[in-house]
């Protein structure tokens, strides 16, 4: 009897996980379709949101799931963008899928490099290391201008039609669909990863690395692995940005972008892939909306929104809603 119950519970938990994966996927696709219908003339913004969403998901992996403090995560995103851009401009690799592959590789390598440095410290020193890293990356890209175009940006990226059929059009339709598909694939893969034994190990590390060591596992190696995965995800986002805008600017490797991505993550709720997506969409739309409505005071309004969210929903927008729903369900049981 007990075993049957257990099997049933396990099965139910497994189904619930799968159900939420599919629900998440459906939400992404439905929102993407709504966005396409509502803002047909602003697909560039929507594509940028999908690219930044990849960056914020990537940040969530190390910050939300592993507890690493970083204000330099755009280093991974920018490395992916430059890897894709340099592949296209200097090596003639203009197939968009290969460019994304180059971005993933560049991001993963940057993740490895950043992880090796950042994971040597904890807490505030860790944060300082991450800030130092993003400045170093930025300065390096600025100085290596024969490769990166320096402060002028890397221009002249002309991606081939997607799978030889869909040209990247002036309205950005192809780029948008490409971005949404990329985001959907990454989202589903990450849902599997965070539920995997490795994901469980990382949650354990976040809570108590000493306990994990006493189980015979190395927290540093696991975190480094997560950094590489995170780099691959951010790199895909950077590459998507390079493919869709056909230019890579220095600000893709900036402290500002790093800090903004952290703000988006906190806004949505850390430690949840849904939270990362929610934060990105709300922040980017709000930014777009208020900057158009009031070009002089929009930053003030963004600041006010953030203060309100942090004060009234400390777990972030998604995190708070999820907690309320969980409590309701708990009470109803």
């Amino acid at each position: 009897m007990a075993t049957m119950n257990e099997a049933a519970t396990a099965l139910a938990a497994g189904r619930r996980g799968l159900g939420r994966d599919l629900a998440g996927l459906a939400v992404i696709l439905v929102l993407a379709a709504i966005g396409y219908l509502l803002f047909p003339n602003n697909l560039a913004l929507l594509t940028r949101i999908t690219a930044i969403a990849l960056l914020v998901l990537s940040l969530d992996l190390v910050t939300g799931y592993c507890g690493v403090a970083t204000l330099g995560h755009a280093a991974l995103f920018g490395s992916g963008a430059y890897a894709a851009g340099i592949a296209a401009v200097h090596f003639g690799i203009t197939d968009p899928l290969l460019m994304v592959a180059a971005g993933i590789l560049g991001g993963a390598l940057a993740g490895l490099a950043c992880g090796i440095v950042i994971l040597r410290a904890h807490g505030l020193p860790q944060l300082v290391l991450s800030i130092a890293l993003i400045h170093l990356f930025h300065e390096f890209a600025n100085k290596a201008s024969s490769w990166t175009g320096g402060s002028d940006g890397l221009a002249g990226i002309a991606p081939d039609p997607l799978i030889g059929l869909f040209a990247f059009d002036l309205w950005g339709r192809t780029a948008y669909v490409f971005g949404v598909v990329l985001l959907a694939i990454v989202f589903v893969l990450l849902r599997l990863v965070v539920r995997s034994p490795f994901g469980m190990l990382c949650r354990g590390i976040k809570e108590d690395p000493i306990r994990i060591r006493a189980m015979g596992a190395s927290p540093t190696i696991a975190l480094l692995k997560m950094y590489v995965i995170s780099g691959a995800v951010a790199g895909a986002g950077g590459a998507l940005n390079a493919v869709s805008t056909q230019v890579v600017a220095l600000d893709s490797l900036s402290f500002t972008l790093s800090a903004e991505s952290l703000v988006m993550l906190v806004l949505g709720g850390t430690g949840s892939l849904f939270g990362a997506l929610t934060g990105t969409i709300v922040f980017m739309f709000f930014e777009d909306l208020v900057s158009a409505a009031n070009p002089f005071h929009w930053l003030t309004m963004v600041g006010a929104l953030l203060i309100a969210v942090v004060l009234f929903t400390p777990k972030g927008l998604y995190g708070t809603v999820a907690a309320i729903l969980a409590r309701r369900r708990g009470a109803g049981r």
């Binding site: 007990a2 257990e6 995997s196 490795f198 949650r203 354990g204 809570e207 108590d208 189980m215 015979g216």
Partner: protein, 254 residues
Amino acid sequence: MSAIFEVRNLKRSFGGLAVTNDVSLSMAPGDRVALIGPNGAGKTTFVNLVTGNLKPDAGEVRIGGETVTNVDAIGRVRRGLVRSFQVTRLFQDMTPAEHVALAILQRDGRAGRLFGNFLAMSGVMAEVGSLLGKLGLRDLAHRPVREIAYGQQRLLEIAVALALKPRVLLLDEPAAGVPQSDTGRIEQALADLPDDLAVLMIEHDMDLVFRFAKRVIVLAAGTVIFDGSPADATKDPRVREAYLGSYADAGSAA
């Protein structure tokens, strides 16, 4: 039987004070040994030295005949030296099933897998169920740890340690902080530990020590002052002086 766990002439000083001073001991599979001593006797330092969390100034630690003095804490766990913690170190948002599954997966070298859910791994779940069942935690398998009682959390500590299939188990005050009503469960769990496992228990509760241990090692001021049967320990004048004092008196008076 040959020793599974040996400590030879272990020394460690802090600023000239010898906290562990020439400690040696040897354990065979199946041994049930209690390490006792008054506060400040150097028990915690000893645990940190043998688990590899602290480097000794001199001496040697061996697991299964292999010298591990220069092996780090993680390497020692992988060689079969597993410890529990005096204050539970569990993951508050995870369930007992997740704790035990993680330990099993780690033991089998599968904790780094990026895909697959342990709930769907029938081999892992069968072992999780049997381990939690043995410790009476089966009904709580899928509740977050923060919702379960402290006594049961202590049992889960033991379950996690056992899931790693240790050869030597170091129990650091397994009954500390457990309400009187729950100590029976802990004692039962200790009595049910695998027969071939060597267990070294660090404990303050003398009743528990005398019921559990076949052998008692008494540490005082960093040195071993007694190594023998529990019955002899109560009679030993040095032990009475250093530590047992009131307990032995109370025992003989009663």
